[in-house]
Symmetry: C2
Subunit: 247 residues, 2 copies
DNA sequence: CGTGTTCTTGATGATCATCAAAGGTGGTGG
DNA sequence: CCACCACCTTTGATGATCATCAAGAACACG
């Protein structure tokens, strides 16, 4: 393999997430449906960064100068409330795209929960690429529609379920996110704190703590280490999300 | 004015919402940023319908065959829950676009709350238009980003606010929606039932009823007729949305 | 005018927030 | 290597908020 191809391969991984080992197709990220020529063009404009945990990719309300793709690590998206607390809008994992906005300001902040590797693309350059490659715009539209669906799902979760139902749904979505990343390991990474989860689910951190403790006592989950959890009784969690509801 | 121009004018209103009387620019709808030639091409593909209240524009999970623009009237977007109840994802008003999806199925249902006039465009034809006019795709992306922001706002509302805060935020958003449609009238149309509002806010209809009654008793709102409401003390409602929070 | 739907109001209780304090964990620096 | 510190987590006690159950009132419609 010549050096240029090697560099391209690396850069492709950077922007587009990992390549599926068996099928060779891109499974996540920004450029999944692009052909190779377009891809190289896009990648030439991007840069790669390694960042420590708690670093913030962008602040709410700051100028939207970059679009990011998470290559490794986990991030949370948050909005500040007038009283200083925060609402967590969602969590993002390897392969997810962050920070694309129609407006020129980020409507929420993105903070890393773990150390991470990200691919960063200047918004100005992206706009040029969008003009040249309409398929890329279609890709953003798809991503946006997907995010919209996820947010609506979360609205149902927060609006209509009990505390146990919400936590159950959250754990199941963690597992689902792992599956999309081809994680075979049944024990999931859960780098977010109880407070993060609480701010995501519209609960207090005490209620979250009590709830996962209850799940553990019932033998539904297991926590082999800090920041790691394994679902043992998926059926029971699913039942909670289907049955237990407010009204 | 020749008949063709008259028809075009009507059709433009149909798909694009009303033209702003003073500035002449399109203020809502699908085609706001399109030039006239593109617009005529799009409109040639669309048709217009008058529908009674309680009619459903599309069902959750059915084939996504059409995209709609509301010309007159109000609709609610809903998702069914496993136990038969519903979550209202949002309300839509004149000028709003409904039913655009990346997938081939509608992820939620749209039901009219009032009799309405809608403009309907076949999805198949839309895809052709999208290929011919990339600007149109950009327009959908903007719409999607806007919807995403609104849904996130609602997530904050449902996740972090008390019952009074949620109802206050809802009333303020109603007023805001009216303002965007250039409604000068201070008394707002509120065609949704208490149950609809409750399903939107993650409350019960009794709590909604008690809350707006409380607002009325305090002189913060007025209900001159069924389905009509006027905000008298905007400041008080704003205060509720800023202050009163769970945690 | 009668009937079904929507709205209001009351009484009661469950869920979950709040306040409080103690036990863990990881990281840092002496 | 250990001690200390900051932060996270757990657990308990108490009470406020809001769901639930119930019944009557107002309204819309045919």
């Amino acid at each position: 393999m010549n050096p240029l191809d090697a560099a391209r391969g690396l850069a492709r991984d950077a922007l587009g997430g990992e390549i599926c080992g068996t099928c060779g197709s891109r499974v996540t990220g920004l450029c999944r449906p692009l052909d190779a020529a377009t891809l190289d063009d896009v990648l030439a404009e991007a840069e790669q960064l390694d960042l420590p945990a708690r670093n913030t990719l962008f602040e709410e309300g700051s100028r939207a100068g970059h679009v990011f793709t998470l290559i490794q690590g986990t991030a949370k998206l948050t909005r500040l409330l007038p009283d200083g607390r925060q609402q967590v809008l969602g969590f993002r994992f390897a392969g997810d795209v962050l920070g694309y906005t129609a407006s020129d300001r980020y409507p929420f902040a993105a903070e890393l929960l773990t150390s991470a590797r990200v691919c960063r693309l200047e918004r100005r350059r992206l706009d040029g690429l969008l003009r040249r490659y309409p398929a890329l715009e279609r890709r953003f539209l798809d991503l946006c529609v997907q995010e919209l669906a996820a947010t609506q799902e979360q609205l149902v979760n927060v609006g209509r379920r009990t505390a146990e139902g919400r936590v159950a749904a959250f754990l199941l979505s963690l597992a689902e996110a792992g599956r999309r990343r081809n994680q075979a390991d049944p024990v999931l990474a859960m780098p977010m704190t109880r407070a993060d989860i609480a701010d995501f689910l519209g609960l207090t951190l005490e209620t979250v703590s009590r709830t996962v403790t209850a799940f553990r006592r019932r033998g539904w989950v297991r926590e082999p280490a800090h920041g790691r959890i394994e679902i043992l009784r998926r059926d029971q969690l699913v039942e909670l999300t289907e049955g237990a509801a407010i009204d």
